[in-house]
Symmetry: none
Subunit: 260 residues, 2 copies
């Protein structure tokens, strides 16, 4: 789904950063890498840092100019840490992810990252349709280039995933604990039997006095109501209650015996 998306690294100094960037993009499903005038490439250090993503390096295209890397792209985004003299249309990383998603279905898209020490030149930035910034700390905003590749690639992937899921409006999203569960969540009726059992057990063991129930049952309902039990948990707790009732019954029997 991300075949039309490429990462372009301009004039990178450190081979380690090329390797780490290759790994970062591949974890997010992006495999097309262009290197514009890298200082050192290929290199053993880049391959080492790329870990399982060395295929990205093997297939990387090394070119002499930015133009060669982005010439066939309909959308070119340039990452930039600082604002420039001439303001450019600016996106944050999240908007960039969404823009890349929308465009890359049918067109080629490039995301361009600059040098470790001074980013992209004004000339390079002016060849981009939009500038992208990653919102960062006011006083210490200097992301490593591979870290920046990681964040932008992550946003591109998230935009694709969210679009595929057609997520419901934010406000209607289900709470986290309702999702990704392997077991059936027990229905309300079973939970009523659960509360009855819990209450009998609390009475049998002498913790709860029927004459003075306080807030015990309300608090139990609130707790188990917000956690919602799955079937295995439900059975486990019913088993615990039964065991506790048994020892309460046994105790009550032994206490009576001396009087007989």
């Amino acid at each position: 789904m991300l075949a039309n998306v490429r990462i372009v690294l301009v004039n990178t100094s450190l081979p380690a950063n090329i390797g780490a960037a290759a790994r970062a993009m591949k974890t997010m499903g992006i495999t097309s890498l262009f290197l514009v005038e890298p200082k050192v490439f290929p290199s053993a250090e880049a391959t080492s840092l790329a870990s399982g993503a060395s295929d990205v390096l093997v297939n990387a295209r090394v070119v002499a100019t930015l133009e060669e890397a982005v010439g066939d792209c309909s959308l070119v985004l340039g990452t930039s840490a600082r604002s420039r003299t001439i303001p450019w249309p600016l996106m944050d990383a999240r908007q960039a992810g969404e823009a890349v998603r929308m465009e890359s279905g049918t067109q080629q898209v490039a995301i361009v990252f600059g040098r470790e020490d001074r980013g992209l030149t004004n000339d390079e930035l002016q060849r981009c349709n939009y500038h992208v910034c990653i919102p960062s700390d006011d006083e210490y905003g200097v992301l490593n280039v591979a870290a920046a590749v990681q964040v932008i690639s992550y946003e591109v992937r998230m935009a694709h995933l969210l679009a595929a899921e057609q997520p419901v409006p934010e406000g209607q999203r289900m709470p986290v604990q309702f999702l990704h569960w392997d077991q059936e969540v027990v229905p309300h009726g079973d939970m009523e039997r659960f509360y009855e059992h819990f209450e009998r057990m609390m009475v049998d063991t002498g913790f709860l006095s029927p004459d003075n129930p306080r807030q015990l049952m309300a608090r139990a309902r609130r707790l188990f109501g917000r956690v919602r039990l799955d079937r295995i948990e439900y059975n486990m707790w019913r088993g615990i209650f039964t065991r506790l009732q048994e020892i309460a019954a046994e105790l009550s029997l032994l206490k009576k015996k001396p009087k007989e």
Copy 2:
């Protein structure tokens, strides 16, 4: 704004990763770092990779156990690449950013990252309220630990920025259990004592055999970890456990008597 958020790195092997993680978190405005049993620390390599974030390393706290790093936290998120035998409440990185934002206004929050080669152990993961995953490529999903710190820290920062910009009603965004609670949510360290007490009670009452603990404690941790107890509930359950231990002790005493 992120003073109550900490990053916890467990048993990190490579000093370079500690340095790169320090830089990653600081670019997003997070400065509190806990290192649980790092293989090598301090180290010149970590400081070099940290670049302008060496203050994060200087102020990092080195501790012997995960417990020491998260004991005072009310919300503990554990990052995990793969699904586990017992599924745990799961968030993606974006939801985690939002959860951390909401909680960290008033409470301490920890985000825990595991070893380079095998992440967090099951035991460590079971000490977390939620697991967090960064959606990644099916075939190559192995983010470098510093890259993972970068993505999660970025999402925490984005959640803060978005909340400041567009105050969407809280109640429409996140699970109920994070909101509008009148009682303090008990911190992680107290919950450890809770689990110890629960386990002793289960042994005393004969439900749990120390020789064959099955999944009981894991399931208890998962349940109470996702529900998160407030102070009154906590005291109520501790009281229940004590009462149940008392009747188990009384029963055991009465059973012995006839033989005397």
